[in-house]
Chain length 165, copies 2
DNA sequence: CAGAAGTTTCAGAATTAATTGAAAATAAGA
DNA sequence: TCTTATTTTCAATTAATTCTGAAACTTCTG
């Protein structure tokens, strides 16, 4: 396999993977392209390589920057903006976890809190409140664990990995 | 808040959460409905409660069973099939991880393996192969860690949680 | 300040995913 | 075996998401 075929395949696969991770297909493809680029690319470069429109490129690059997966790089003497990807995979995973925790887990915790306020002495209400309480307990633990995980450095992952093996 | 409002809100929120987890909105809603149901429900019950079509109910119940998140329950003397949800949250999370690992991580590992075969002595190829190798290393570790995690019992989670705090 | 280079926005178009509903298949009972 | 209850399938429809492209906006430079 030559390098161009390899790159294409990587971009395509990374895009497919990302689309299941709250990162849209194009977003993941841009990230993939930047991951394997030996140097920063401009919006124009990305548009050409992935054959996407200017608007699409712009919106997805911005989203990637919001997630902390891509950084802007300014070159002196150049007016254009260039972009590089976060290449440390542990960091990438942490940032995705942080985003999803904020956007998904935390709102759910809030809802579970509200649902604890359901009243009633009938068995139906009792059962409901019990289920909600169990889930809330679990979710709070998960939330705390993910917090630690997001704060931890790469070595943490290596350590846990070692312990498990 | 009364119990009916509470149930509605729970189903709605759980559905929204699920739709970001490889579980479609309706699939997650059915799971939510079964989680808070004090006893097994028939397909008919689910259709009525969620106001969805027979086909939709059937397909999503089956998907939930494939994932191991819902079980069939046969009542003697009843011809209909009834369904109950897995209620242990740790088990639910493990099953979701197991599915996604199989459907996403493992295919990606296969692709990364193939991409290692890219040849060339030019800097571009060298860089590409290096990036792919880094990602592969990380992914293999993640894969092994998730394997252990999926095999582990609830206590494992509690232990890790305690260690982190 | 005027013009050029670059970036952002967003309504409509295109694409992709989920849902319906009716027909086909299956299974149980008489 | 035939009838009836129940489940499954899938083509057509509907809904949700993503992308385009042109116009508006911003920033830099002479």
């Amino acid at each position: 396999m030559n390098v161009q075929e390899g790159k294409d395949k990587f971009i395509q696969s990374w895009g497919a993977l990302g689309s299941n991770w709250g990162v849209s297909r194009t977003m993941a493809q841009i990230h993939a392209l930047l991951l394997i680029a030996p140097h920063a690319l401009s919006a124009e470069d990305i548009m050409e390589d992935l054959k996407i429109s200017r608007g699409n490129a712009n919106m997805n690059i911005r989203a990637l920057m919001d997630w902390g997966l891509v950084y802007k790089e300014l070159k002196t003497g150049e007016r254009k903006e260039f972009f590089v990807a976060e290449k440390d995979m542990w960091d990438v995973v942490k940032k995705i976890i942080a985003q999803r925790k904020k956007k998904e887990l935390e709102p759910m915790l809030k809802v579970l809190e509200e649902l604890s306020a359901v009243e009633g002495n009938d068995p139906e209400s009792q059962n409901f409140v019990q289920v909600v309480r169990d889930i809330k307990l679990f979710s709070n633990k998960a939330n705390a664990t993910l917090d630690k995980l997001v704060q931890s450095d790469s070595n943490w992952f290596v350590k846990v990995f070692m312990n498990m093996i």
